[in-house]
Homo-oligomer: 492 residues x 2
Amino acid sequence: MAKELPTRKEDYSLWYNELVKKADLAEHSDVRGCMVIKPYGYSIWEKMQQALDKMFKDTGHSNAYFPLFVPKSLFEAEEKNAEGFAKECAIVTHYRLKTDPQNKGKLIVDPEAKLDEELVVRPTSEAIIWSTYKKWIQSYRDLPILVNQWANVVRWEMRTRLFLRTAEFLWQEGHTAHATADEAVRETVQMLDVYADFAENFMALPVVKGRKSEGERFPGAVDTYCIEAMMQDGKALQAGTSHFLGQNFAKAFDVQFTNKEGKLGYVWGTSWGVSTRLMGALIMAHSDDDGLVLPPKLAPIHVVIVPIFRTDEELARISEKAQEIAAALRKQGFAVKFDNRDTHKPGFKFAEWELKGVPVRLAIGPRDMEAGTVEVARRDTKEKQVMKLDEVVEKIPALLDDIQTTIYARARTFRSEVTTEVNAYEEFKKVLNEKGGFLAAHWDGTPETEAAIKEETKATIRCIPLDAKEEAGVCIYSGKPSTRRVLFARAY
Amino acid sequence: MAKELPTRKEDYSLWYNELVKKADLAEHSDVRGCMVIKPYGYSIWEKMQQALDKMFKDTGHSNAYFPLFVPKSLFEAEEKNAEGFAKECAIVTHYRLKTDPQNKGKLIVDPEAKLDEELVVRPTSEAIIWSTYKKWIQSYRDLPILVNQWANVVRWEMRTRLFLRTAEFLWQEGHTAHATADEAVRETVQMLDVYADFAENFMALPVVKGRKSEGERFPGAVDTYCIEAMMQDGKALQAGTSHFLGQNFAKAFDVQFTNKEGKLGYVWGTSWGVSTRLMGALIMAHSDDDGLVLPPKLAPIHVVIVPIFRTDEELARISEKAQEIAAALRKQGFAVKFDNRDTHKPGFKFAEWELKGVPVRLAIGPRDMEAGTVEVARRDTKEKQVMKLDEVVEKIPALLDDIQTTIYARARTFRSEVTTEVNAYEEFKKVLNEKGGFLAAHWDGTPETEAAIKEETKATIRCIPLDAKEEAGVCIYSGKPSTRRVLFARAY
């Protein structure tokens, strides 16, 4: 089963597509560009949601729900935002189908049910939310508003890939409103930190926190912060963004408030989001040629127990022990699968659970039962060890912790290996083509240089790292002076 | 604040609308028929989701996610289903906006971005899901499929009311596939039981389990089961439905499987759903003229503590005690709000938390501190009692249990009072007009009689109760023989 995967070296892109399908994570639907997230894939997304949702609530946010549709007149109110999304949005124009008079049994759009005003299926919800905030906010006492929404959004992408770029995707979008610019910026940075914390500690994914260049900014934002991750093929992936919106949306929707001094002013805003794209990052960062490698904190199944048996009697004896171990682990909050199917051989099961990324596999056979032992295999390093049956329950929590740490460390090491400081454009192109990864280089700060480099090499400025040191240098492209390095990469 | 609510007697419908808005549950949006679910309302919905989700998983179901859009050709595949929803669905016809050449800054639909095939925004997902199941099912080994989805759906209702009937609403929809009719029927009934369990034990809402008459069946179902609840104005509300789909969708989408004997046959299906409509039921079943009454199991805040103070020094002393109580209660899993705002008087706070339905209110003043007491008010009965400060923490869990039970018992008593056996049509109309409620009456089983009664009285057959006894009688309308009573009511 797992053998059917192409290797990463052969064809990284095909490996990813096949892995997503074979591990039962997602598949293409009959709707152009839209995916079906299958139960196993969705259960990983649910674990992500739970962890993030808790972090949002711990930082004072509440969930709410706003409409799927944005009337065109609201959509166009914030000009840059509208311009940024107009080219890729689904438009509802009618509200009824009727029987085709020329072909009974078929339906056609009823021309008499045309909407007076077209509705845009939300590509993002700033417009509909700020038109609502106008009703909620009069005074400084109504601020801050700290709201998050879990929702589906639609962006009519022409080239789609499962999880990474789909016409419809699932995400959360936080939308906050504040009395001062300072407070809004603090919120923007706080949520970036939440995302980085989640990526590193749950996804085992090291990320660089930074700011986007003007060219890569969210349409309608004053400043876009992001976390950038590195995939195994040397391409970067933007894993989350947090935007300081300034007063742009407040002005577009006339959201003003009276401050403590009785003075009227526009509200300051932020928005921030992560999406099912994180699933793509999780898969691509850690998995290997045999399948998924999941960090235990996001694994739907932590431990799978595979019995090795020839007779029903052997299975019965092993089952008893396996159920005992499973029960003890479940009591500690771990998800355990006892795979007692008699329709498949152990080898098949091993491959299947490897493909699905279960962090720990226990195999118990008749000889183990006699010797009081169990074979413990970890998915990340493929190491096997023999443990005593009566010690396995107490040893597994530490093993899972170690797997979480190891996966993170491995990704971090890899990222270091593919992060290169370059000081000249020829070197930049050479490293980019031969090795890929992050290229830390000086840039003159102009959109023109950024665009020229992108045009010539397909590398974009992933971010201006928040921790970038002041360092005098010259732009690799223009030779003009620069005060800090930025990170370039080809990206998903 | 609470005083601003109209009473239920004055205008039940206005009372409901005002309560939903004033208690910060939901409001109308700028999109026709779509609502904004505000944070407080959404937090109740989240508690519903959590409880239901656990019940679904405990009965073996997994969550997944299917596309928002249904291509028209798939939508029309199951004829009755298509016919049932065609008249009220939002249709996406284009995928791009462009700048209006006559009016820069305005956008128009780009006529060149017309879709080859229109997309229906899902009003329900049978079509898109069964077109997917076709790919998932070949053999009996692929069955059963037990999948649930939490999603938004759109039905273009012309007359909308917050939570009860909105163009977009949130729901869960279970879609299962089985090898035999028997197993599918068992699943249908099991999920009806889950819904009834949830309604009674979480929402404190007594429900009648039953089957719909043919006229009220889900389009495309062979049999529709439902739970029906009674609101305080004597109108019924359908709180959940579970459908046995027979092989209708399997045939429409050609989903066949090979059984154990190697024989090919169509798969059997079910679908079942509850929606944000439950919020409407929850509000209308229990609340009073002062505001919401929430069953503790779904209350976002279980206990609110209001300090009564004149000086900062008094507040500080009370705060210390209040925080101690709050911490001890939180440790037991209760949500506690300490309302120490100095901008509002206690009377205002009392009214506000009554409006929001917090089950238990503690008020602590300086005299309480001296006497070591606290005033405990329960929201449901408005009873107040004085407890010792050092006993309050241990007494609150039982008090909350009692509130949950009392709310349920009250709703059950009310329902009994407004359920009437009637044996003649004149009596039927009299009771319906003077008292409302459920009318248990004999019906001849024909759609004609059902339609005539509906036309003449606006009462519909809510359900044929599962526990209806065999009883010889004659139809109140036609005088034809009948073997059991069915429940009529005017309904939301």
